[in-house]
Point group: C2
Chain length 317, copies 2
């Protein structure tokens, strides 16, 4: 999960100088905040500091971030004409700063670097809704009522995602993570048609590049059995599923990543330890288990508690 | 699910005259909007028009509804002192308008009337957060860090819920539904400690009154196996679980209610029919299946499409 962020005073210091999008697009600064949690917390891998909307913007959407309301696109995709105008990005030309950040990081880091992208369905929700959404009604309306538009849009997003992650790997990312943050808003039958095939296609296309592929599915319990067939090496799960059940659903050929509730980091050291050990114990049934939070670190999290968690996990293995 | 609402022009006509809370507290008007979907749509039961915050307000919270931001309590519960001030409601004195609405409805209706309440955990989230919430951090902090406060608060809420639903049954409600709208925000282990026991206690207390008890759990897939042990006659499920899997998890001794995605009502008549028949087909494995949406009807839903759905379901059985 996003390891850098507002919970670190060191991050806030940099963000006081530049806005969020500028930070994502400034390789030296983006590399610096990527490294922060490795140095400060002692985590075992770094995840590229960026945002899942960066490649989407370059497909032709006008992006703005608002402090309170989050990201907004002023020209959401609602018609075939809108979709026809979108382009498949050329990462070297369109997002050179992301690749440069990766190159800087590979020289600076002594832990593995994970690149990432939004999964195609999650990217589509932002493009169709124009931002975050409560019920994803506009996205679902297109899935139900205009499957031709939906598949043509997903085709372009999927190809962009493949090219974007290939370029990240080429630049030096040693693993990649695909975030399907909104997949859990779909019924399992909708997920199977509108999200899963596109994530699978990205994973299949990246397979020959030989790096581990992590597929994170948020609000996963209803769709996890389907997601397990994506071909990913690792399935990341949120805290809404019991880790023992996640292991059963994912099976013995796939590694599981997760899944402590980020809110647990607002409790005592002893409570954090007990809850982390419970996740670790339940993860023992898996082929392998990568300990992680079930979602991103919340902005108000005390950094001391994140350090405690990292220590507890290191001692447990 | 809430059958009356903004999607009906007949409802909007009444709401143009009175605010939401006044509508909930005016028996003649509340009865009128309760009856609307029965007359207009032809559904097989009526669900009392009210709001889950009505009894909470009477426990001692100051409630206001805002058109855009939803409900807000200006004095949320954060300390033992806050909780100590709360009272267990006396329904006949504190919410006589709810009981009067039920009495009017029993005379006017020719279909069964379902009473309802928020489940204790869901009620607690509103009381602690002071409104709706994105991550329920303040609620979880109390669960983790102040279990004595949490259990004393839950004790009062649980007793209020029991007394409130008993009074509804006494006034004439022929079934009751307990809405655990936010249970799915908890990890299964937190659900088992912080939500499930209190819902179960309410259900056990109502059991001697002899009316069917429905327990609706939103975002249910991760906790459904636990919820199945609540003692409820019927478990209501949202659309995030496949109906066939819900039937397997709930077992052969409990009826399942649900679970068409409310967004499907924004598609064509044929698509609505296909999706409804899929849910019906998968529900055939259950002891019994009560067809329903997986959540409330969305405000912009075309009433014609709700009528189509009712017709499709009636023809299928």
């Amino acid at each position: 999960m996003r390891q850098a962020g507002r919970y670190l005073p060191e991050y806030r210091k940099i963000r006081a100088k530049v806005d969020f999008l500028t930070l994502c697009k400034s390789p030296e600064l983006a590399a610096e905040v990527t490294i922060q949690p490795v140095d400060i917390l002692g985590v075992d891998a770094a995840i590229l500091f960026s945002d899942i909307l960066i490649p989407i913007e370059k497909m032709g959407l006008k992006l703005r971030f608002y402090e309170k309301k989050g990201p907004k696109f002023s020209n959401p995709i609602r018609t075939q004409k809108d979709a026809d105008k979108l382009k498949i990005i050329n990462p070297k030309e369109d997002v050179p700063y992301v690749l440069e950040t990766i190159r800087i990081l590979r020289k600076a880091l002594n832990v593995p670097l994970i690149g990432f992208s939004g999964a195609p369905f999650t990217a589509a929700t932002y493009m169709i809704e124009g931002g975050s959404s409560k019920n994803f009604l506009k996205t679902k309306q297109i899935i139900y009522n205009d499957p031709l538009l939906f598949t043509s849009l997903m085709g372009k997003i999927t190809q962009t995602t493949i090219d974007y992650l290939c370029a990240q790997i080429e630049a030096g990312a040693q693993a990649v993570q695909l975030f399907d943050s909104w997949a859990g808003a779909l019924s399992p039958s909708d997920y199977e048609v509108a999200a899963f095939p596109y994530a699978k296609k990205v994973i299949e296309a990246l397979r020959p590049l030989g790096v581990p592929i992590i597929y994170f599915v948020n609000d996963c319990p209803g769709v996890l059995s389907i997601a397990a067939g994506s071909g990913a090496d690792v399935i990341g799960v949120d805290w809404r599923v019991d880790m023992a059940e996640a292991v059963r659903k994912v099976g013995q050929t796939i590694t599981v990543q997760g899944n402590l509730d980020p809110c647990v980091l607002f409790s005592s050291k002893n409570y954090i330890k007990d809850m982390a050990l419970d996740v670790i114990e339940k993860g023992k049934g898996a082929r392998a288990h990568i300990f992680n939070l079930g979602h991103g670190v919340l902005p108000e999290t005390p950094p001391e508690n994140v350090k405690t968690l990292v220590k507890v996990v290191h001692e447990a293995y």
